[in-house]
Symmetry: C2
Subunit: 242 residues, 2 copies
């Protein structure tokens, strides 16, 4: 079984259509490439109770949880408190982070900025030697910032800890529509129940109508299924295989 992950984006700005999130799509791609299966993603407002509830559910349901957003110094940054409540721990000021902030703001470390030294009690700090500011993790919940550049920097600094057996993917581009294809795919899934099959219609592509994806962590299983599918499909249906 692949390890599972859930992603919680915390951001009124996404829900109100002001900002188009880029972090979730990036993280879905990265985790997939690492062999991790993202099972759910959600976007919730910057509200304590919403964060508490969502993070608690995700932390119980998935191997890894990633949050994005709500970790700055302003009034609407309540992720640390929300995550702490979700995990049933207090919010504490972390001495190492205080020292870091004292270095960044030697003359103007006010209360708002000091908020960024707060962590859920029992949290670990990761990748402190390669990052300006470490990643905060409490049990299986990784707290990441919303700003895309920093989100990526932080994930890249910790990504190797998530690597496992990769998924193997083959794509078959066909010039028959989904309505005709459906029976072939159902038969294929009956014969290869462990296969993950996707079918993606493309209405404006001149060459093909549907991209079919076959996936599994076992490369031989994917290859056998691919051979079986190609044997079943009408001869002129296949445009190309990737």
């Amino acid at each position: 079984m692949a390890k599972s992950a859930g992603i919680v984006l915390i951001g009124n700005e996404i829900l109100s259509g002001k900002i188009h999130d880029a972090n979730a799509a990036y993280l879905c791609r990265e985790l997939r490439a690492l062999g991790v299966e993202v099972r759910k993603m959600s976007v919730i407002p910057d509200e304590l109770e919403a964060i508490r509830q969502e993070v608690a559910q995700f932390a119980a349901a998935y191997d890894y949880v990633f949050t994005s957003g709500g970790v700055g110094p302003t009034h609407d940054d309540v992720t640390i408190v929300g995550v702490s409540r979700a995990m049933g721990v207090a919010v504490v000021r972390e001495p190492h982070l205080v020292r870091l902030l004292e270095g960044f703001y030697p003359s103007n470390l006010n209360a708002a900025r000091l908020k960024m030294a707060e962590v859920p009690e029992g949290a670990e700090l990761l990748a402190g030697d390669s990052l300006t500011f470490p990643v905060i993790v409490i049990r299986n919940v990784y707290v990441l910032p919303g700003v895309p550049e920093i989100f990526r920097q932080k994930f890249e600094a910790i990504r190797e800890r998530f690597r496992e057996q990769p998924f193997h993917l083959r794509s078959v581009f066909v010039r028959i529509g989904e309505g005709t294809l459906a029976d072939f795919l159902n038969d294929l899934l009956t014969a290869y129940p462990r296969l993950l099959v996707g079918s993606y219609p493309e209405f404006r592509h001149p060459d093909y109508k549907v991209k079919v994806t076959l996936e599994c962590k076992d490369p031989e299983y994917v290859d056998q299924a691919l051979t079986a599918l190609l044997r079943r499909l009408p001869k002129d249906a296949v445009v190309r295989i990737e």
Copy 2:
């Protein structure tokens, strides 16, 4: 109170990073412009139980629910069954949709294609005169397809039914950072509790450091709050107002 909405995207292809969803961002923007507040968005796999659970929760929590994806003819298209279970109704074949499909596929309306005539029992069909295929709605749940072009066509055909009093938005671009800004915004929220305040740091813009947004359905309230904020901020802090 603004009407609330929730968006459920059904799609393994988004979770596995194969496709970058465009429907949710589009819908968040459109609904906001119509005066509707999107309270939550989630992406779940093409799985019956996941769909049932999520749609049931959303339908109980929000005025409007929009689903995207999982409505085609293939094995993984289980949204109609999932939504039906969420609403506690049977799946039925809708005679009007059968006639439409007979028109589209006069000689090859197979079982897979006929699946697209299935709806939750009690569903209404909307915008049938302007669309090739109508929008399916069951109580407060609008079932939309995942293909972005068709998703938009369908939403545009029904959008006016969601229109209400708009949000009024003013944006203030400042050259002070969030750490300095935080106290001003906290004071502002104490004086104007009905205000929705956003603060969006921009690390690479040459002109400003943070974009502050003030929002409310009452335009006078926003203007009063804007005046109050400008009075409080240091004189050279403001770059521009939009």
